[in-house]
Symmetry: C2
Subunit: 381 residues, 2 copies
């Protein structure tokens, strides 16, 4: 994958919401989205996955929602007699989380009905289409871990940076040391994405409660992916972030938390641009990280491994995943056949796992499921 | 203070932004507000405290900002030839944090230039007028504590609730036990307010770095203040929140963190409606809390104490504070003379401190300063 492909990928990101065509009649069982602000009735979602929007703006000239079926360019709203603009998507959206905004009177605004989530280098509106398998990231009455906000000094950038740190249930009162997964967001997002949009903490709480994964710490920080605007990615230099991550954050975490502070017990994974960062950094820093996850963020090939002497002796797992809709059509991210590339790592002696999230695109349900699949594979050696 | 006064107070909250009249010429040294979204040039603030807004919406019929001088009803924006609506406040705003929103085409929207903060039972836009004393809540290169997000089961409400917990620098690696302050937000806000709008964690980090306060834990949770809408406060029953706080959260915190788990080392404080909750709860539960802080949230009088046998033997401090602008004019919150009432507690043998934040209203700079004044007074006995 080259930089032009990266840029094309980013330009395509977010277009994947729903590709099914409307066929059945729309069921009138719409309910408020679970992400709505307290007391807000709209946006709503029905049992088929249609989304309905309602925005009060009697004097507006035009209001449209950016979210719609793939390639549709969004969902236009129409004004009713009460001055509210309403509209329903032309078909069911994919299950899971979607970013969107309002295109209103020539400007870009958020839907006052729902909460905001940082994506596309802006706080965007969010809506959740309940997934048939949503139980694995649901808030349940199980022992819960803690998400910590920590502030660490970054000398290389001359700033104080923030990281969010998940510790498993029992960490506070216990004495155990834990392995650590460094988990990166995508372009346009920040360190809040994995906990808020991704529910990484709840996924871990539930997996741990079911005995499906070894408990470990997750560290999420800002990947500096937005310091260049889209189109300017050719100037992106991963070394800046690598210094913050490897030389500043890893030592801070090892000094501040009860970690197992060695390569065997340190993993790195990321989604989209965070997956690319993971690939770039771990191909050089395999003396720091032993387990690698690329979620909708490219592959590591046997050729890559040959170019990184020592990698195959030190790395214990390469996990690669995509949403199924990323594997069809014209996706510049898909260079060759990612499954074949990933599985061919086995032939050069590297344990590799390829996972496909059913019926999802370049969006967070793909990545929630990928974390669910990745976690049990980590730190087993 | 009775419920009608409470309701009037809430109706008046947020009107206090700036009361000075414009006199000098406006200095053209506007800079982006520190709360802006990444890369956003507007809103801006100048060195006098004027705020200037700019919103792109070429086809809008009208755009106004809710924020303006006290009683002005906001700041109208005018459309320029480029389709952007701009406007400047009629005078300097008070220093500190202000909530606002856009009134646009008959609807309520947020300013896409800045971040959102939960207030008024909605995510509102926020702007920060740099305060002359902002150093005490600045992000500095000192040892930083951690803000934890914890999830606890609440049987009385049949739900899983969230709390944010500040632990002082060194907590993770140390063995010490710490006192705990339970710190409540105001009406329309939630458990995020004190850390985000209030910078409670940074205030503590800075006080601790300067040796000005004993390190302690701060616990912030949702005070259920919004479960009734404004005007319906007559139905507010503090017992629901008291059960969550005293019977569920306090035991959870004492079981999960290294606390000094006794009345002597447990405080409660709150702002506005959170101050009223503090007052109502501590007048009954003085066997649970020894130090009390009411920030723009009423007073405790000698008469109150007489009605609560045992209170004066158990309570070590009553701290009361207001913004100076709350002590003038027609403020229904000010029943009698709060300074006199608070100081008269000394006569019945209760240590009391009254603090006034200069040139601020019912807003967060009053409460940031109040926390700075309160923290050093806690857990000294």
């Amino acid at each position: 994958m080259n930089l032009r492909q990266v840029i094309l990928l980013l330009a395509c990101a977010g277009l994947g919401a729903g590709t099914a065509l409307a066929a059945d009649a729309i069921r009138e069982d719409f309910k408020p989205s679970t992400l709505n602000q307290p007391g807000q009735a709209f946006p709503q979602v029905n049992s088929q996955g249609y989304a309905r929007f309602r925005v009060m703006a009697p004097d507006a000239k035009s209001v449209a929602v950016s979210l719609g079926l793939g390639g549709s360019g969004g969902t236009p709203l129409a004004k009713g007699e009460d001055g509210a603009w309403t509209g329903t998507t032309a078909g069911p959206l994919d299950e899971g989380f979607h970013y969107y905004h309002l295109n209103m009177d020539g400007g870009t605004f958020n839907d006052p009905g729902t909460q905001d989530f940082y994506g596309s280098i802006r706080w965007e509106s969010g809506i959740e289409i309940p997934a048939h398998d949503q139980d694995f990231y649901a808030l349940k009455d199980v022992p819960h871990g803690t998400v910590h906000q920590v502030l660490f000094a970054s000398k290389s950038t001359g700033s104080i940076k923030r990281a969010l740190v998940y510790t498993p249930p029992g960490y506070e009162k216990g004495r155990n040391r834990y392995p650590v997964l460094y988990l990166q967001h995508g372009w346009g997002e920040d360190e809040t994405a994995w906990a808020r949009q991704g529910h990484a903490n709840l996924i871990m709480d539930n997996l741990i409660a079911e005995g499906k994964t070894r408990p470990f710490i997750i560290v999420m920080t800002y990947g500096m992916t937005n310091d260049v605007k889209i189109g300017g990615l050719a100037s992106f230099d991963v070394n800046h972030f690598q210094r913050v991550l490897v030389d500043e954050l890893v030592p801070y975490i090892d000094a501040s938390f009860r970690t197992q502070a060695d390569q065997k017990h340190r993993a790195m994974a990321g989604l989209s641009m965070g997956g690319m960062e993971t690939r770039w950094i771990t191909l050089k820093k395999f003396d720091v990280f032993s387990h690698i996850g690329l979620l909708s963020g490219g592959t590591i090939s046997p050729e890559d491994v040959m170019g990184a002497p020592g990698f195959k002796e030190k790395v214990k797992l390469v996990f690669v995943s995509y949403g199924s809709r990323e594997l069809t059509g014209n996706n510049p991210m898909r260079v060759g056949n990612p499954r074949e590339i990933t599985e061919s790592l086995q032939k050069v002696g590297i344990r590799s796992v390829f996972y496909v999230s059913p019926d999802t695109a370049h969006e967070f349900l793909s990545w929630r499921r990928s974390l669910r699949e990745l976690a049990p594979l980590l730190f087993r050696d």
